[in-house]
């Protein structure tokens, strides 16, 4: 409804945009600071946290991009701890029911990249290889009934990008969450 009215008020829209963008800039500043606090450390709340607040997304390794994004979205390395990546990359022949085997040199390059940019904020569940099975993930999604993930436009909890349009850039912010409706058709990339 609000958007409907806004359409008729370009000036108002412009002002709102101005406000939003300044808020966004301020928030980004906050987050940068928050990052520094983390390093000094140790709030128990942070134990489960993924590196999802980091405003700096590491440069995407090209081999990783070409080999690991044809079957699903791009999962940022910071979504799992190093141990999980090593375990997953050690068994690509049986990768969630599919064969994602790579030649050894490529596999090594991708593993190194993932480990180097992995999350360092996990202290538990280090054997979990699904992001969607980490304690952090479950806590952040505990209001969603499991049937929501099975909707046609989503498929499974692994399909972050169906709800978080910025997922491939590590953006899981509240503003960018939209849960597809039951009737939604095929998902776009």
């Amino acid at each position: 409804m609000i958007f409907f009215r806004l359409k008729k008020e370009p000036l108002l829209l412009f002002i709102l945009l101005l406000i939003f963008s300044s808020v966004a800039i301020l928030k980004a500043d906050d987050e940068a600071e928050e990052g520094e606090h983390h390093e000094r450390g140790g709030k128990s709340e942070e134990v489960y946290k993924l590196n999802n607040r980091s405003s700096v997304v590491p440069v995407i390794n090209q081999k990783f991009k070409s080999e690991c994004t044809s079957c699903h979205m791009l999962y940022q390395p910071s979504l799992l701890p190093a141990k999980s990546w090593t375990k997953m990359m050690g068994n690509l022949k049986q990768h969630f029911g599919e064969n994602a085997e790579l030649d050894p040199a490529v596999q090594k390059e991708i593993t190194n990249y993932l480990v180097k940019n992995s999350s360092n904020r996990f202290s538990s569940n280090q054997d979990v290889i699904r992001i969607s099975e980490t304690t952090y993930f479950k806590r952040k999604h505990d209001e969603l009934s499991p049937s929501v993930f099975k909707r046609k436009g989503i498929g499974s909890a692994a399909n972050c990008i169906a709800c978080h349009s910025g997922a491939e850039k590590n953006d899981f912010s509240e503003e960018n969450v939209r849960i597809p409706k039951e009737t939604a058709g095929k998902i776009k990339k």
Binding site: H72, S156, I187, K189
Partner: protein, 141 residues
């Protein structure tokens, strides 16, 4: 002014068709390489057949895990349409007429034949089967 526009238009069209013909040359080259592979594997090899390729694409079988599977499971029954992976990502159409980037990189072609034939047939595909399949995908108008 007008003549400039026309020249610009013609250059663009020439450029586009040149790129397209280069791409289709690349997929012809892949068919040639597969033919070489087929001849090495079987001295009786004659040629590839689009209709046998279509059969491979459409044949459903029961996987040892009990599920019905075929190439159509992910690529859909119409190669001109977009498919969907098990993890719900869109797969671009397989028909070369719709998606000219198909079958232009031998490494990619071989990698996916290995994966998908194992996935569907639970064995690798023969060079004959691979060539038939590519020929079918290139023949769809």
């Amino acid at each position: 002014m007008r003549i400039l526009k026309i020249i610009k238009f013609i250059t663009t069209i020439t450029f586009i068709s040149l790129t397209l013909s280069q791409i289709s040359e690349a997929s012809e080259a892949i068919l040639k390489e597969l033919a070489k592979e087929a001849r090495t594997a079987d001295i009786k090899f004659v040629q590839f057949s689009a209709s046998t390729g279509e059969k491979l694409f459409r044949t459903e079988r029961i996987h040892s895990n009990g599920e019905k599977i075929s190439c159509m499971t992910c690529h859909t029954a119409d190669p001109k349409k977009e498919g969907l992976t098990r993890a719900n990502k869109v797969i671009k159409p397989m028909a070369a007429s719709i998606n000219p980037n198909r079958f232009t990189d031998m490494e990619k072609v071989q990698k996916w034949f290995k994966r998908n034939c194992n996935d569907v047939q639970e064995r690798i595909c023969t060079p004959q089967e691979k060539g038939d399949f590519v020929k079918y995908m290139m023949s769809i108008k």
